[in-house]
Each structure stands twice: as structure tokens, then as C-alpha cells.
Subunit: 342 residues, 4 copies
């Protein structure tokens, strides 16, 4: 059994990790930390876990993290980078669900995240954990930078097009919509039901931290820098991301075949039949990404629709997928739940 620890388990990615790991046949959760809630039973905070997770939160100091096989950081940005080296030195694999190790350009990272980086060398070592692109690198890694939620949906949507070189990568648009759980379990006015409910808006149009992460990913696929406009929106629902992607085609190509071939062997990526429209609920509570590709009225524009559950494939599920790869387990172990719909 793999001994897993969770640092910072009081947020939505934390409870989702608990849901997935508690049902994983090869994992035993040995520690979950929260400085603020130390002593409280996890199931007291998250009643959905009553009878299934008997742990209590402990302080990071008391938690047996160094004797874990893997530690997940479900913490705010800037925490994992303080504690990762010590864990790696103790032989623990680290999977960071926050952004500390996602962006290779340290200056760029500092600009967007507003702090100095504590360990640039570990950024260089970390593997960007999007298995559909980086599976082989994940296998041998010590430290995984688990991708952001928007970046997962957008990169998987653009991937076949960019790899095949069939679009103009200098001017791409990613119009993305996320459920409210993406904002985390923080007491903020803007995330109140009476504020975010029955309404819809864009946010962070001048600039959002996931834009450089996505651009970096697309540039790696393309082999050169790309131009990307990324606009996130807040949906009045809890779980789900829908990315609507636009690009100009530069080559005539069978788009449907291109996508189906690229993702033929991927358990977690489902290419819908031609003219499909994936719904976020069709992946709810699962680690799937469903994708449809369109060429409206046969013109020169390609439109890709990509949906994930932001808490699963966009966070905790992908983290477990990465863990499975790290430890040589079946990649979908503990992640085969059928989506909950309706």
C-alpha cells in the first residue's frame, strides 16, 4: 500500500483528494495537515466523508510526512516550495496541486504570483504532470507540478492541432468557463451564492495566472512561442470547466480523424463523434476530458469544445493519475468512477 499524505486538506481539492484516495485500492492515507484545524476530525468538516475517513487534521510538524511514499500539496501557492526539498531529500515523492512548480521561467512566475521563488532548481527538475503529453517524464520524476484546471482543459483541446501544425498559433483564443469551486473554499464575498448564483461574468480579462501556464504548454507543443488570448468566466455551478477554443486553420485536414487518432489510447480523453457538444455534467465527478472539434460551415475556423471536472481532471484526479504513473500502477486505478449525471 502506498502511504499518502496531504498537506492543506481543508479546501475543495483536499476533500476531493480524500474522496478519491479513500476509494483507491492501493493507497492508505496516513496524514492530513491543517495548521488551523489541527485536532478536528476530517469528517466533521466534510460530512460526506463520515464513516469513510477517520483521520483528524494535524499540524504539519506532527504529521508523519517524511514517512509517506507520496505527499500531495493542496495548499495555496507558495507553500509547497517551502517544504518540498525536505520531503524529496527524505525520499518522498511530491505532487503539488498548486502553481509553485508549473512555470519554468522564474521571473515570469514571480511576476504573476507576486513572490520570490524559494527553489528555482526544483522548478527545473519538476515534471509538468499532464500525462497525455508528459507520461514518460512523469514515470521517473520525484516532483510533479500538477497542471492548473484551465490549463488542462485548454491544452488537451489545442494539443492535436498544435502538434499537427494545422493552425495559426500566433492568434489563438481560449474562452473558458469555470464552476465556482475553482475559486476554492475561501470566505470571499464574490463567491457567495447570492453573488455568483443566477449570474455570469468574465473576470481577470486584463490578465490571469493561467495564461502564462497555458502559453508555455502550447509553446512547447509548437516548438515556438504562441499568441493566446485567454478569458476566464465564472459559471453558476459548482463543478465543471468548459473551454471553447478558436483558431484559424492553415491546412485542410480531417479534424475529426486528427483528434481521434491523437487520443486513441488515452483512457481519460474522450473524443465525441462529429458535431458533438460535450456538457460539463457528462464528466462530473470523473477524471475524464471530453472533446469535440468543429469547423463551422466549412470555413477557416476551427472550434474545439473541451470539458473537464475542475476538481478531478483539473486537480485532484489528475494528481492521483500522476501518482499511479509514479508508482507503476494502472494509470486509471481508483479513477474509473462513471460520471454522475444528471
Amino acid at each position: 500500500m502506498i502511504k499518502a499524505g496531504i498537506v492543506g486538506g481543508t479546501g475543495y481539492t483536499g476533500v476531493e483528494l480524500l474522496r478519491l484516495l479513500a476509494q483507491h485500492p492501493e493507497v492508505v492515507i496516513t496524514a492530513i495537515t491543517s495548521r488551523k484545524e489541527a485536532g478536528m476530525k476530517v469528517a466533521e468538516m466534510f460530512p460526506s466523508l463520515r464513516g469513510r475517513v477517520d483521520l483528524a487534521f494535524t499540524t504539519p510538524d506532527e504529521a508523519p510526512l517524511k514517512s509517506c511514499d507520496v505527499v500531495f500539496f493542496a495548499t495555496p501557492n507558495g507553500v509547497a516550495m517551502q517544504q518540498t526539498r525536505e520531503l524529496l531529500d527524505a525520499g518522498v515523492k511530491v505532487i503539488d496541486l498548486a502553481a509553485d512548480f508549473r512555470i519554468t521561467d522564474i521571473a515570469e512566475w514571480s511576476k504573476w504570483y507576486g513572490m520570490e521563488h524559494a527553489c528555482p532548481d526544483l522548478v527545473a527538475e519538476a515534471v509538468y504532470g499532464l500525462p497525455e503529453i508528459n507520461r514518460d517524464k512523469v514515470k521517473g520524476a520525484r516532483l510533479i507540478a500538477n497542471p492548473g484546471c484551465y490549463p488542462t482543459a485548454v491544452q488537451l483541446g489545442f494539443l492535436p492541432l498544435v502538434e499537427a501544425g494545422v493552425i495559426d498559433t500566433s492568434w489563438m483564443v481560449a474562452d473558458c468557463k469555470s464552476g465556482v469551486s475553482g475559486a476554492g473554499r475561501k470566505a470571499e464575498i464574490g463567491a457567495l451564492y447570492a453573488e455568483a448564483g443566477d449570474s455570469f461574468k468574465a473576470y481577470a480579462v486584463p490578465g490571469h495566472r493561467h495564461q502564462p501556464e497555458i502559453r508555455q504548454g502550447l509553446a512547447r507543443m509548437a516548438g515556438h512561442d504562441v499568441g493566446l488570448t485567454f478569458v476566464p468566466h465564472l459559471l453558476p455551478l459548482i463543478r465543471g470547466i468548459h473551454a471553447t477554443l478558436y483558431a484559424k486553420l492553415t491546412k485542410d485536414v480531417d479534424l475529426q480523424a486528427l483528434f481521434e487518432q491523437r487520443y486513441a489510447g488515452e483512457y481519460f480523453v474522450d473524443v465525441l463523434p462529429a458535431n458533438g457538444h460535450p456538457e460539463t455534467r457528462s464528466v462530473r465527478a470523473s477524471n475524464l476530458c471530453r472533446i469535440a472539434v468543429h469547423r463551422p460551415q466549412g470555413g477557416d475556423t476551427v472550434v474545439v469544445l473541451s470539458v473537464i471536472d475542475n476538481l478531478v481532471k483539473g486537480a485532484s484526479g489528475q494528481a492521483v493519475q500522476n501518482m499511479n504513473i509514479l508508482f507503476g500502477l494502472a494509470e486509471n486505478m481508483g479513477l474509473t468512477q462513471i460520471p454522475v449525471s444528471p
Copy 2:
């Protein structure tokens, strides 16, 4: 492996049965029927099942129902009673998720359901499939009347009180609230998002079909007739029932202990600690019923709060639980999913 057939799989209880059975380690689904959609792939209608359920709907005539070990009826009321005898004669166990076999008093049934009953003798034989009350009878049954959604939540909530004889059973109130999926997957104005969303109302206050079913169940527990006012309401959410139950205490009793003892061995009934308030989301997509019991300000009124997922413990999950009992499997096999929250 148990060969399972589903008659009428195009509704919400149908797709939920598919979700649960497709993940059940001892079941293979061999037939699913829909006269109207014959020929269509199930996963075309329910994209959440893509890659997991490869069946197509067939007409009832073509379906190999008689070679099944068990057949679930997820049909409108009045269908199962037409086909059950033939299946029983062929040695098939039958679980009816509709109301055809729930009410023993045939005249009462006809009054509420507006039709003649096709097989009163089978009503007499059928076992009311609320395992927490009827487990032993379910074991040896051929035909299970799967309880209604409201009746499940209400009966489990009142059960310890009525069995212990500590309330006035002549005047009980069940104020119940259900998510919209309880209305089924039917194209009706009242169930449109723009009608049922962002609003709340009671319905069927003059009389609802679940009232006689609940009253029958409570009367059996009590050993005599009871007085029950039942008011259902429509919640602007998809899954979930919350029953708020009121009765007058006739004996001084430790309510918390009474409930904990009654449900001590029940995997699917979770009694919250004193002063708890169960949320419907804490059982979402699971077969659990969570219950809290209160005595506000120490007065003579007992208030019970009981929540279930109407599609799982209130329908398809309970049907699978009954199937497990019928076939001697662990009662919770295939039903151990942790609730999805948030």
C-alpha cells in the same frame, strides 16, 4: 455473474441503474429496453456512460429478459404489473422501481393510481423492499416492490420513534422537499429550468400518491393506523430529498441513543451526532440516508431531519441493495461510492 435486465431505461432511474450496475463487480447488464428508442445506443442518450455501457436499447419483445437472473422495472406506473408474472414464471427475480406492488390495499392503490390492478395476487406476494425494516423477507422473495423516494426518507426518519412507541402517531407531519429529478425525465413545462429554477413551491397538498404508501409503512411499524400530513415541495436542485418530520413526544426518552441503537448495524443509515443538520449534498450520488434528531428547546416536539439522494437510496441504489440481498451478496456491494461533495 448476475445477468440483469432493465425495462424502460430512458429515465433518470434508468440511467442511474446503469451507472450503478455497470460498476457492480458481480453484474452484467444483458438487456435494456425502450420501445421508443429501440436501436439507439444507450450512451448516445446518456453521454456520461460513453465508453462504459455499450448496449443499445431494444424493444421489450426482442430483449432476452427471461434469461436474466433479475429484471428491474424503471417504467411508469402500471407497466410492471403487466409483465411480472411471465418473468416470475420463468424464474426471474423482479424488482419494480415503480409503484405497482407497493400498496397492499388494492382499492386504495386503484384510487390513487387511477387504474385497475392487473395482478392483485402478486401484490400480496411482493415484499416491500426497505431493507432496514424488511431485510429478512427480502432474502427469500421473488418480487420486490422498491419503495418510493419520499417514503424511504420519511419511514427511515420516523422508524425508531414509531417502533419505540414514543410519539403520538395520530398526528404526524412530514414536510418533504425533493430535487427536480424526482419528477422524471419527461418534457413537461413545470419541470423546465426556467420554471423550476430559482423558485420553490409546495405541490399536491390536497393529496399525493406517496402519502398512502408512507401511511401504510408507518401503520405496520405501529401496529395500528396512523395520522399523517404529508406535504411535498419542489427544490431548485437536481438530486436530493430532505424530509423534516414533526411529532409530539409521549414519553421522555434519549432520542439520540434511540436512533443510534436502532441504526447501529445499518451500513446505509448514518445517524449524525446530536444537534446535527444533514445536507442533501452529504449523500449526493450515494446510497446513504443521513438522519438527525432534535428536541427543540427541550419541549414536547421531536423533529427528525432525514436526507437521501432520491435517485440512489430513493430509487436505483435501493434497488441494487435489494438485488444484493436477493442474491446473497454483500449488501453494500457496488454501493460504496463516497458522496460527491461539493
Copy 3:
């Protein structure tokens, strides 16, 4: 024109007061205070008011409250009682939307609100501003205790029954459901979309501050103390309260006629035809209360359904209604908006 001031205008009752007063033909808003947001334009916080309300928040000290004709307190409990005497002394009418002056029994008030009362004599003077009961007293008042949201819906629902003496007032049940805006515009985890959305729960079953307020009101109608169980629930919607009321009939009476006669002259109370089921959306954004009365299956139980918009008839609209009465205006002036539905 009536010069109106608002103390504490950053919450939902504050913005709703602004919406109503800005459209009122006889009112000019001359001051709105917020210690925390002083200097900020009101329309910056509430973009729905852009172009219609040009005021900025000021500190209470700078605000010309004493030169107002009327001051509304849309503040947390315990604020109005500190400032009311000074305003009354200056000849200003005061309408408190919080609970400072609602409960006559000072000890009871202190028990539920957890503080000493600053001015018990003013509690004695204050008029409980439920116009359908207290219209005449409101006319001559200086200080109005604007009723709570639940108390408004429940009292209007029970009123005809209690006044007519046709129910057993020793054991009444009020099962109430409120939209999330009732919790106010406060950054609290429990009111987040990802917590309160797609879910439903009861809260405060052991005791809620509105219970003594309702009981006091019912007792005044009855002329003696009453027994009331009050259970509030949180609805996944923004505006709306639905009260479902239960009592035992002690006299045979034409309930429909009783309700229609009692509310015959009331502009803001609409008795639905027999067997009706009012929806919360049918009063959305209006000052109406719609009521239906039932006697299920002709038994001895009366069920009343009463709906209001908690921010309008349950708070700010009723405050404006009281203001209209105080100043001799038509009672419905500025309050004739047709509900917004769907």
C-alpha cells in the same frame, strides 16, 4: 420630498432599499453610511445602481442623518439601539430593519441576541411594523421595528386562523425555507455558492432568533401564549421565503372564505384560489405575500402556504411600506412593481 438616510447600506437589505427608494416618487436619499466603505461610490459596490444612485458612502459622523425625515437602519443587530434616541430627539423617524426593537420582553431579547439592551424604554415605544396587523399604530409612531423575514411570512399565514380562534394554538408548526440572501452579504464559508448551491438543509433547529419574535406575534393575536415549533431551512436560490404552516383545526370553518375576508382590503396580501400552490418566484422583487390555505383530504389539519421575497416584504419593501404609512402617503407608493418571473 421625504429626505431619507440609510445607515449601513452595504448589505442586501441596503442595496434593496436603494433600489426601492431610488424609484420612489416622493423620496430623495440624502445619506448612506458605511464606516468601512466611506468614500466609495455606492454604484461601484452595486453596479446594478449605476446611473441611478450617485451617492457615495460616508461615515456615520459626517452623514446629515439628523436633517433627514426618516432614517433606515440596515445594520447588524445592536447598532440601531445605540443611535436611535439621538435621531428621535432630533425629530427624525426611525425604521430599524434589524431586531433591536422587535421583542418587548427585554430579558428574552438579551438571551437570544447575546447583549444588554441599550434603551428598553424605546423598545416599549417602538411599533412592530407589520402593517396588516398594526397599521393604525404605525401611523402615529416615531420608531418602527421592521419585522423579520420569517416572522412576516409566518405571521401573515397564521393570522386569519389565530384571530378567528379556529386552531389549537398550543402546537403549531412552521416549516420555513429561505433563499441565501437572507444570510446577508457576509463572507462566510457556509454561504458560498459551492457550499449552499445544489444542496438543501435545515439549520438552527435547536433554536433560532425568529422563533421568539413569531411566538410573540402569534400570542398577541391569540391573546395568550402559544406553542410553536419553528424550523428554518436554506434554499439554493437567492430571494424568496416559503413558509409551510401546520395546525390542528378545532372548528369546522370555510378556510378559503376566512382568508379571503381577512385580506380583502390588503394590497400586498394575495390569497390564491382554493387548492393553490404559491411559488416564491411569483413574488420575486415585489412587496407581495401570496397565501394558499389547504385542508388535505378534509381532515383536521390545516396547511397554509405563504411566500414572500425576503428582501422586499421580508425587509426593505416592508420598511418602505411603513415609511409610506408614517408620512401619510399611499401605502403602496413606490411598491407597485410587478414580480419578475420567470
Copy 4:
């Protein structure tokens, strides 16, 4: 007083017209027709109108439409074109809220709407009723083609850019999101709460009828044909459209000033301060369009965010605005309601 008739008043645009016209100081509604519901009181179908609209539905034949001053068609596509000539001949002004007169190219119209046009000459005469562009033509018209909901939000968003000639009009993107009421009050599975709730999807990506309408409008502004990709999505909310518009800038220009100047005199168009993000709720139940313009990170992409209430500025409110212009009334008469928020 203007005598107004409504043909086909049983849908959401119908009830919204009733809400607005019943509060309009210069209008009396003299007829509302519905073949199917003839005889039923309007307020029975729409309880929000109880006490305010006393009319009953009548058949079109019985309705005194020819003695109206103006008739609104709130009918499915293809109805108005059958009845308009007769009304115009009788001197009645006609405002069609459907699409019969919106597209000048008859062949194009037939292709998208799947029927022959009954009166191409009237299409030529009809004025496209987007007052912010066509106010002068509306003034003298007999027949108004009231714009579609998406076309209103998109055209108002692109208008300043296209008129000023500062974007590449050969490749524009309109990523649009609409609340469910846009689908109308029709009993269809896809619009059920349990289908459309808690989920999000694109639809009609291969082609949507509003695309040619928008393209026609943009082409008129530009003076030449344009390239437009239009992708509509379904939001889990009732009212509201959010259009997110993308184009490539071809000239360096002060975008904020451009928008503010273009809409300086427009009562119903509100340009937010720089870096704003309009929410759909900020226009709920009002005739406003709120717009923000962005140039992310100073690049060559302009992003416009445009929100309306699809039932008001996107349908019935705009129809009333057109009526006001037709009859020489203040353009905002009866349309000054402050948005309902939260």
C-alpha cells in the same frame, strides 16, 4: 393611451411584454391571443400577474387586433408574416419579436428558417429595430423587426469597433452564453432543470440562425461583408446573455474613449469604467446593455464583454423601446426599472 395587442402571449417574451406594458403609463393592453389557451385568464397561467393583468387569452379571430394602435407578435417564427399585411393595411403598427422580418436576403432567410417567406416585400419595408443604430428609421416605420437576443448583445458590443474601422472584420469571434429562458417556454427534454441545471455546454456550433442576422448587421456597419464565428452556449440560469467578443486590432486607438463616445447619449447602453467586468445580474429585469472593453496585456486583441437580459433588451423591452419611438414617446418610458440584484 396606446391600444396594444399581443399575438401569442403564452411564452416568456409574452409574459415579459405583459409585465412591461402593464406598468407603462401610456399603454392599455386590449387583446392577447392564444389559440390553444383561449378563455384562460392570463394571470392563471402567469401568477406573477395576479391582480395586475385581468385579461383572458382569446383566439386571434375574436381579438380586436385591427383596432389596436400597435400589435406585438410574440409568436414562433413564421406566424407574423401571415398576419402582418392585414394589420398594416388597417393602419396598425406591427412589432415582430420573432425573426420573420429580420433578414433582408430572402433566400438566406429561407435556408435558415426552413420555409418560404410569405411577404418578401414587407421584409424590404421592415426596419431592423436596434434603436442605437436605426433610431431614425424606426421613427417613421410601420413594421419593426425586433432584433434577436444574441444579435442585440453582439452588435452593440462590436458596433463602436466596426464603425470606427479599427478591427479586422474578416475574422471576428462571438462567444455567447444565454440563460435558459432564451429557449422559450416549450416542453422539451433539453430545457428541463435536471438537464440544463448544474451543467454548461455549447450548442449549434455547426450553425445557428442568429449568425446570419448578426453578420448582416455587422456588414451594414462595416459597409462590406464580414467574417464571424458565432458559438452559443447554454447557461444554468434563467435570464441573461453574456457576449464575449474577440477581434484583431488594426489601429491603435483609445478603446475606452471610443466606446464612451459612441454610447454617450444612449440611455440603455452603459459603458463600464476601464477594466470592468459586467455581470448578467447587473442588468436583470432591465432594458440595459452594459459593456466593457479590454485590450489584454496591451496586445493586438480587443475583447468586448456585453451583457443584456435576453427577455428585456434582448426581446420585450427592446420591443417597448421601439414602440416608444414609433409613437413619439420618451424612449425610456416604462423602461426605467432598476435591475434586480442580487
